[in-house]
């Protein structure tokens, strides 16, 4: 126990804080009934995961996490959740079959954690962490750029293509034409000429336009 408190340097304290908040807010995400609160706890989880990534020396991934998830995905979630005006989630009811599934998954994760514990010494220790930060001469972002745009050029292009397909797909899915809505048709407007839209008359008094 004394050894534990002696090892509490700044980065260790930050690790325990970030990971504690991550686990607590993940529990809140899966157990809160209101979807808006659930998405807000998801944002907390992502911000703290970005803190963990900074501790690991991956600044680029950390800021990407904040920008992409907190800035885009979570806002998209909140937008949809608030737009749909949905009820709270129904109370969870666990039947027998589902209980077996839950026990099965818990068993798998328990075995995984058991094997991790057996190999404790292999991956723990200060030689593993922060060496990327200490030893490198180029920054993390520059390293990623040097590898991503050369060695992983084709996967990068395919990722862009996937994002493009997702954009087209979501636009096509949510686009709808409602009847009775007046719209501006530019081609029809441009097709009008003076001859087919303008008549000059001089009606006599008492007769009006014929």
């Amino acid at each position: 126990m004394i050894e534990f408190f002696n090892s509490l340097s700044f980065s260790n304290c930050m690790f325990y804080m970030f990971s504690g908040v991550i686990i607590l807010s993940a529990v809140a995400v899966i157990s809160v009934r209101n979807p808006v609160y659930s998405v807000l706890f998801l944002i907390v989880t992502f911000i703290n995961a970005a803190g963990l990534f900074i501790l690991l020396g991956a600044e680029f991934i950390a800021f990407l996490m904040v920008i992409v998830y907190v800035g885009a995905v979570a806002v998209l979630f909140l937008f949809v959740v608030m737009m749909l005006n949905i009820r709270n989630r129904p109370l969870c009811t666990i039947n027998r079959q589902l209980k077996y599934t839950a026990i099965f998954i818990s068993g798998i994760v328990g075995i995984e954690i058991f094997f991790l514990t057996r190999n404790w010494g292999k991956f723990s220790g200060k030689e593993c962490i922060n060496r990327v930060v200490e030893n490198e001469t180029v920054s993390n972002t520059e390293m990623i750029g040097q590898v991503l745009y050369t060695e992983y050029f084709y996967p990068f292009q395919i990722a862009g293509l996937i994002l493009f397909v997702a954009m087209i797909g979501s636009i096509v899915l949510t686009l709808r034409k409602r009847a009775g809505v007046r719209r501006q048709v530019t081609s029809k407007q441009l097709y009008r000429t003076k001859e087919n839209s303008l008549i000059l008359t001089s009606p006599k008094i008492g007769e009006g336009v014929q």
Binding site: I22, S38, P90, V109
Partner: protein, 122 residues
């Protein structure tokens, strides 16, 4: 005891487990399912970055970028499907998705509630 890769992998495993558990207990709400899917991908990302930092490689972080791309695309498509579904049906509960069932009400009511019944829900 200093913080090593073990701790990060441990956090990733716990987060993965929590999100799977969330998928099980929130299986009736599509929004909650998508949120749990995001948590799952976050756990995978933590593992990737932890091992990338442990083995002094940059490849793990690059794969994290790709996972971020895929998850963003998946969320966009999933949320638009949810919006269209809500527009058509007025509800996004998984229990209400009974369009393909032949005759939903009679099937659920008259089905045998025995041991092997497919309607042995709740």
């Amino acid at each position: 005891m200093s913080i090593g890769t073990y701790h990060y992998v441990f956090i990733g495993a716990i987060l993965f487990y929590l999100s799977l558990l969330g998928m099980i207990i929130n299986r009736k709400s599509l929004i909650h399912l998508l949120v749990c899917l995001e948590l799952l991908l976050l756990a995978v990302n933590i593992n990737f970055v932890a091992f990338s930092s442990a083995f002094l490689g940059i490849r793990g972080q690059i794969f994290t970028v790709f996972i971020l791309t895929i998850s963003a695309a998946e969320i966009a498509i999933g949320l638009s499907i949810i919006v269209v579904y809500f527009r058509n049906r007025g509800s996004i509960l998984v229990d209400d998705a009974t369009t393909l069932v032949d005759d939903a009400t009679t099937l659920v009511d008259d089905a045998p509630k025995g041991k092997g019944s497919i309607h042995d829900i709740s």
